[in-house]
Amino acid sequence: MRVVAGIVAALVGGPMALRAQQAPPSAVAALPPGLDSAARAALAPVFARAVQQGLPVMALRVKAAEGVLHGVPSDRIVGVVTRFAERLVVAKAALAPAQPDEVSDGANALGLGVSASVLRDIRKRRPATPVTIPLAVLVQLVTQGIPASRAGDIVLRLLERGASTQQLAELPKVIDRDVASGVSAERALDLRAANVLATLGPRPLPALPTAAAAAAPSMPVGVSNGNHSGGRP
């Protein structure tokens, strides 16, 4: 019986241990304490790939450690961390060039149903500045119960109109208060965002005309080239 158990242990545990040994030392070192051997073996290659892909390994460690602290079963932790690593890849591409914390926040947003295109649009609106706060606000709005698409639309509109970091960061806080007073989170977001938008400048001008359009005869500002009716002759 002991022989059979030894063979089974060798068959099951051997490859796991081998996989863990094959992972780079940095990746293995990043594994949080408290994981059992099976989870460590399963996550070691995930961490190793993350190192190779330039993903923020610390974010993976934090995600795994959170599961350990809350007493989540190991197999579930492995699943959560593996999926999180996949989201990190998507977030990194969508937010490029991105800092590690931006990639992590982006992955969290993706996990809440925010689309990668929203992440790309956020980066487009803030190409030269960190988007940590817009992403943080977006994630927080969704966790407050606002649909991801709606929260994404609002954050993008605010960014487009030049809302400050402070104006963005205040939104979840005031929405918390509104919700505490009985207003739905989505309604509160609409009201609060409208207030912020009212303080901002006009909508940005449309994109510059292309070369072909620029070659066309120019028209006076405010005159439409469409078929409008009711205007002066």
Partner: protein, 199 residues
């Protein structure tokens, strides 16, 4: 009624007031230093000064102004302190050097400055703060018991962004009871959230 009172009160010789009021003496002496003038004009001026009352003409007036200025400064300073003190007014408006304490969820703290956390747990034997900023390590950020014996506090510096956190009270993980908790979508557990704004 008013006319009768006016008639009943004998008019005081304004020059007699000079003996009592140093201010008037100063005014009169300064007038005397001026070129010769009509004595009646001097009398009118002195009468007007007496009618204005000794307090209003007092040299102590600048001190009143200074006192008001000091009082205003004290009030302004007090307002500044109250406005920046955690748990006063907007509890989650935090300034450098002051800490956030048990604010609502989605609270906003300014980066760089330490963000302080406080939990009322008078019966607890050990409390620590855990979160994504310390890899959810219960040993990383122990909290210390406040002087009042009820609360536990700690201050940590966190980078800008959204942070999730919880307290570990005698081994039990709990969300911040003073703020609305949020569900962690991955593990389906209640945590608290904080947005730290960059400076």
């Amino acid at each position: 009624m008013g006319d009768r009172e006016m008639r009943d009160v004998p008019e005081r010789d304004p020059m007699l007031a000079l003996r009592d009021d140093p201010v008037l003496r100063t005014v009169v002496s300064s007038l005397r230093e001026m070129p010769p003038s009509d004595p009646e004009a001097v009398r009118r001026i002195v009468r007007a000064a007496v009618a204005a009352g000794p307090q209003r003409a007092s040299l102590a007036r600048p001190w009143h102004i200074a006192g008001a200025a000091v009082a205003a400064s004290v009030l302004v300073a007090a307002g500044y302190i109250v406005g920046h003190r955690p748990n006063a007014g907007e509890r989650d408006r935090v300034s450098t050097g002051w800490s956030t304490v048990a604010q609502p969820a989605s609270r906003v703290a300014h980066g760089v400055a330490a963000t302080a956390f406080r939990l009322d747990a008078p019966a607890a034997r050990a409390v620590s703060l855990v979160g994504d900023f310390n890899s959810w390590d219960p040993a990383a950020t122990p909290m210390t018991r406040d002087a009042d014996g009820r609360g536990w506090s700690v201050a940590v510096t966190m980078p800008a962004g959204r942070h999730t956190y919880a307290f570990v009270v005698d081994g039990l993980v709990i969300a911040d009871p003073d703020v609305p908790s949020v569900r962690d979508p991955d593990y389906d557990v209640a945590v608290s959230a904080l947005i730290v704004r960059e400076r």
